[in-house]
C-alpha cells in the first residue's frame, strides 16, 4: 500500500494556473506510514499438507531464514496412527526499519495416518480458538494490548503426483473455506513439465469451481490503476494455483549464486519465473496482498464467527431464561441441536409405545368377544 502512493506536491496548481490554498491532509498517507512502522506489523500464516511436500523448505525460502532448526521427523511406523498437532513458531524479522512479527502455524501429522477421517479438526479448532480469544479480548475492559493471533492465511499444499485434487484436499478446503483465507499451492513443481503443469492447473481450477470451494480471491484492481498493473493482476489471477518450488541451498548458475536445486540434468532456479511461480507467490503474499489477507480475515471470517457466536449466545440465553454475564465461558457449538435430537428420539419412542399399547388393547378386546 505504501509503495503505490503518488506523491502530491506542496502546492496544487489548478487548470487556470492559480495556486490553491494548501491544507495539508495530503500527508496523511505519510503519517500512516510512520505510525505503522513504529507499531510494527504482525502476520499469522498457517501451512497444511502431507509431510514430504516441501512446506518447511518453501517457508525457509519465502522468509529467507531457517525456521526449522533441529526438527525431528517421524518414521513411517510411528505415523500410522498419528494425530495432527499444531505447532507455532514466532519470529521477528526486520527490513528497512519495518518490523514484522511472523507467526507460522505448522500442522505436523496432517494426512499422514492411515485413517485420515476429519484430520483437519485440530486445525479448525485452533482457528476457532484464536477467534474466540480475540472476541473475548475485544469485548473486555482493558483493550490496550490486544494480541491478534488470528490466522490470516492458510497455505495448502497439493501434491503434484496425482491428476488433480484428491478427496482429502477437497474436504479440507471446504472445511476451512469459511474460517480462513485458503491459498492452494501445487508443491514440488519441478516434477511437472510445462504442458503437464498447465493441465494440472486447469484441472485444479475446474475442480475448485466444480466442488464450490471458496479459495482466497485476489481483489479486483481499481479501474484507475495503470495498464501495467492491471496486466500483472490479470496474469496473477490466471496462474493460480501457484506452482512452487522451494530451496534452502544456494547453487551457482549462469555466473550467479542463486537459490536453487541442482540436478544432473540442470539447475532449477527458485526465483526464475519460467521455472516456477515462487516469485508470484512471494509478491502476492508479502509484497502486495498481505494487508488484504488481514483485512479479509478481520472483516469477513472473524465477523462471521462473531455473528454466529452471538446468535448462539442469545438463543442459549432465551432457553435458560437466566441473566448471564455477556460472554459465556465457551460458546458451545451444538448442544441445542443435540438435546433437540434426543427429545425427538424420545418422542418417537413414546409414540411407538402408545401405538403398541393400543394394538394390544384391541386384541384383548377382540378376544373377549
Amino acid at each position: 500500500m505504501t509503495t503505490n502512493i503518488r506523491h502530491k506536491g506542496r502546492t496544487i496548481k489548478s487548470e487556470d494556473g492559480e495556486e490553491k490554498e494548501y491544507v495539508g491532509f495530503a500527508t496523511l498517507p505519510n503519517q500512516v506510514h510512520r505510525k505503522s512502522v513504529k507499531k510494527g506489523f504482525d502476520f499469522t500464516l498457517m501451512v497444511a499438507g502431507e509431510s514430504g511436500l516441501g512446506k518447511s523448505t518453501l517457508l525457509n525460502s519465502l522468509f529467507l531464514t531457517d525456521l526449522y532448526k533441529d526438527r525431528k521427523l517421524l518414521n513411517a511406523e510411528e505415523r500410522i496412527n498419528q494425530t495432527v498437532e499444531i505447532t507455532k513458531h514466532t519470529v521477528d524479522i526486520e527490513e528497512k526499519g519495518v518490523k514484522l512479527k511472523l507467526t507460522i502455524v505448522d500442522t505436523p501429522g496432517f494426512g499422514d495416518a492411515v485413517n485420515n477421517t476429519e484430520c483437519w479438526k485440530p486445525l479448525t479448532d485452533y482457528i476457532d480458538q484464536q477467534f474466540e480469544q480475540y472476541f473475548r479480548d475485544e469485548s473486555g475492559l482493558n483493550r490496550k494490548n490486544i494480541q491478534d493471533n488470528r490466522v490470516h492465511c492458510c497455505l495448502y499444499f497439493i501434491p503434484p503426483f496425482g491428476h488433480g485434487l484428491r478427496p482429502m484436499d477437497v474436504q479440507f478446503m471446504k472445511a476451512l473455506q469459511d474460517k480462513v483465507n485458503v491459498v492452494p499451492l501445487i508443491s514440488k513443481a519441478d516434477c511437472l513439465t510445462p504442458t503437464e503443469m498447465r493441465r494440472m492447473k486447469d484441472r485444479v481450477r475446474d475442480e475448485i469451481e466444480r466442488f464450490g470451494i471458496k479459495v482466497y480471491q485476489f481483489p479486483e484492481c481499481d479501474s484507475d490503476e495503470d495498464e501495467e498493473f492491471k496486466q500483472q493482476d490479470k496474469e496473477l489471477k490466471e496462474s493460480t494455483p501457484f506452482a512452487v518450488i522451494g530451496s534452502s541451498t544456494v547453487v551457482e548458475a549462469r555466473g550467479q549464486r542463486l537459490r536453487g536445486r541442482l540436478y544432473p540434468w540442470g539447475i532449477v532456479e527458485v526465483e526464475n519465473q519460467s521455472h516456477c511461480d515462487f516469485v508470484k507467490l512471494r509478491n502476492m503474499l508479502i509484497r502486495t496482498h498481505m494487508h488484504d489477507l488481514k483485512d479479509i480475515t478481520c472483516d469477513v471470517h472473524y465477523e462471521n464467527y462473531r455473528a454466529q457466536c452471538i446468535q448462539q449466545m442469545t438463543s442459549k440465553l432465551t432457553q435458560d431464561n437466566r441473566v448471564e454475564s455477556p460472554i459465556p465461558i465457551l460458546p458451545l457449538s451444538t448442544p441445542d441441536v443435540e438435546t433437540e435430537k434426543l427429545i425427538k428420539m424420545k418422542d418417537e419412542e413414546l409414540r411407538r409405545m402408545q401405538e403398541m399399547l393400543q394394538k394390544m388393547q384391541q386384541q384383548m378386546h377382540e378376544q373377549e368377544l
Binding site: 492411515v114 496425482g162 491428476h163 482429502m168 516434477c191 513439465t193 510445462p194 540436478y263 540434468w265 526464475n272
Partner: protein, 424 residues
C-alpha cells in the same frame, strides 16, 4: 514312503561318478528345454501398486516399449479396485503373455485402513485357482494360464523423507505373498544427495519393520556379481516417459523441462535401465520360480492346514492325502447326520410345545365359556324370579282392584237405595 526314501539315498550313495570316453550328447538337454519352453511361450504377471497418477502405466509403457492404452483414473474412487489386462508380446521368436494388474484408487480414500485387503484378496484368489487346478482329477497344468502374480512393483511417492504409513502397512501385508520390488516413482523431483539419503532411510525402515522385499538371487555364479551390485541400489529411482526428445542427434525417451532434459535411459539421471535389466533381462525366470516355490507353497500349506490336512497324523506316521480326505469326508457326513437329527428333534419339540400351548388355550376358552354360561343362567333365574314376583304383584293388584270395585259398586248401590228410600 519312508522306505522308498531310504532306498533312494542308498542309490545316491552308490552312484559313482563316471568319466565319459566320448561325446554322448546329453549336453543338449538345456537346449531342448529352452526349445520346448520357447515353443510354449512364457507368461509373466506384474502387479503395480501405487497412488493414482504416480506413473504406473507410464512406467509399464516405457519398460515394455509399447503403448498399453491405459486411461487416467479419477481420484474419487470409493474403494481400491484392481484392473488386470493381458497382452501378447513378441521379441525375436520368444512370445510373452504379459498380464499387468494396476490398482485403481489406491491411497485416495480418507480412511485407508482397508486398502490393502483388496490386493491381498486378489493375490489369494490367483493362488486359489491354481490350487484348485492342481487338485483337480483331470488337470491340464501345462495348458493352464498361470495368473499368479510374479512380481509386485510398489511405487513410493518421492517425498524425500521416508515411507508413508500406508506404504509400510501394505508392504508388510504383502511380503509373504508376492515378490515386492519397491521403486521410487517420479524420481526427477529428488536431487542426487537427497536421493541417497532417501534410499537409505527407506531400506532401514523396511528392515526395522521386518518387511521382506525381493532380493536378486546371488547363488547363481553367472549373475551373482551383478545382482549383488544391484541389490545395493534398491529401491530403484525411476522416471518413465513415452515421449521422445532430440538430444545430441538421437531421439531418446525423455522429459523436457525448462531447466534441462531428463533422459530415461541415462544411468546418471535415474535407475530405469537398472530396473529393466533386473526385472526383465536377468531375473524374470527367478521371479517366477520364487513365486511358485516360495509364495505359492506357503499359501498352499496354509490353506490345506486350514482345511485340516496334515502330513503326519498324531502318531507321527505319514498320512496320505486320500486318507485324510476320507477321514474328513466321514467326519463331514457324520456331522451332517448329527445336525439333521438335532434339527428333527428340535422340530418335534417345537411341535409339542405348540400343541401344549394350543391345548392350554382351548382349556381356557372352555372354562371361560362355562363361566359365561353360568352367569347367563344366573341372570335368567333372577329374571324368572322377578317375573314371578311381578306377576304375583299384578295378580294381587288385580284382586285388590276387583275387590275395591266391588266395594265401590256396593257402596254406590247402597247410596242409590238410600236415596230411593228417602224419596219414597
Amino acid at each position: 514312503m519312508a522306505s522308498s526314501d531310504v532306498a533312494r539315498q542308498m542309490v545316491r550313495k552308490t552312484a559313482r561318478p563316471l568319466a565319459l570316453s566320448g561325446h554322448v550328447g546329453f549336453d543338449s538337454l538345456p537346449d531342448q528345454l529352452v526349445n520346448k519352453s520357447t515353443n510354449q511361450g512364457f507368461c509373466f504377471n506384474i502387479l503395480c501398486i501405487g497412488e493414482t497418477g504416480i506413473g504406473k502405466s507410464t512406467l509399464m509403457d516405457t519398460l515394455f516399449n509399447t503403448n498399453f492404452e491405459n486411461f487416467e483414473s479419477s481420484h474419487f474412487e470409493p474403494k481400491v479396485k484392481l484392473r488386470a489386462q493381458t497382452y501378447d508380446l513378441q521379441e525375436s521368436n520368444v512370445r510373452l503373455k504379459l498380464t499387468i494388474v494396476n490398482t485403481v484408487g489406491f491411497g485416495d480414500q480418507m480412511n485407508k485402513q482397508e486398502s490393502y485387503q483388496h490386493i491381498v484378496d486378489y493375490i489369494d484368489t490367483q493362488f486359489e485357482s491354481y490350487l484348485q487346478e492342481e487338485l483337480k482329477i483331470k488337470r491340464s497344468l501345462h495348458n493352464y494360464h498361470d495368473s499368479r502374480i510374479h512380481a509386485c512393483l510398489y511405487f513410493i511417492a518421492p517425498s524425500g523423507h521416508s515411507l508413508k504409513s500406508l506404504d509400510l502397512v501394505t508392504m508388510k501385508k504383502l511380503d509373504s505373498k508376492v515378490n515386492i520390488i519397491p521403486v521410487i516413482a517420479k524420481a526427477d523431483t529428488i536431487s542426487k544427495s537427497e536421493l541417497h539419503k532417501f534410499k537409505i532411510k527407506i531400506m532401514s525402515e523396511l528392515v526395522s519393520n521386518g518387511v521382506q522385499i525381493y532380493q536378486f538371487p546371488i547363488d547363481d555364479e553367472t549373475v551373482a556379481q551383478i545382482n549383488t551390485i544391484m541389490n545395493g541400489h534398491l529401491p530403484f529411482a525411476v522416471v518413465g516417459s513415452t515421449e521422445e526428445v532430440n538430444v545430441g542427434n538421437k531421439m531418446v525417451k525423455a522429459r523436457q523441462y525448462p531447466w534441462g532434459v531428463v533422459q530415461v535411459e541415462n544411468e546418471n539421471h535415474c535407475d530405469f535401465v537398472k530396473l529393466r535389466e533386473m526385472l526383465i533381462c536377468v531375473n524374470m525366470e527367478d521371479l517366477r520360480e520364487q513365486t511358485h516355490t516360495r509364495h505359492y507353497e506357503l499359501y498352499r500349506r496354509c490353506k490345506l492346514e486350514e482345511m485340516g490336512f496334515k502330513d503326519t497324523d498324531p502318531e507321527s506316521k505319514p498320512v496320505s492325502l486320500q486318507q485324510t480326505y476320507e477321514a474328513k469326508r466321514q467326519e463331514f457326513v457324520g456331522e451332517l447326520q448329527r445336525r439333521e437329527e438335532e434339527m428333527r428333534q428340535q422340530f418335534v419339540q417345537r411341535v409339542k410345545e405348540k400343541e401344549a400351548e394350543l391345548k392350554e388355550a382351548e382349556r381356557e376358552l372352555q372354562s371361560r365359556f362355562e363361566q359365561l354360561k353360568r352367569l347367563h343362567m344366573e341372570e335368567r333365574n333372577k329374571l324368572e324370579e322377578k317375573r314371578k314376583t311381578l306377576e304375583d304383584d299384578i295378580s294381587s293388584f288385580g284382586k285388590r282392584k276387583a275387590a275395591t270395585e266391588l266395594l265401590q259398586a256396593q257402596s254406590l248401590n247402597a247410596n242409590i237405595k238410600k236415596d230411593k228410600d228417602r224419596k219414597k
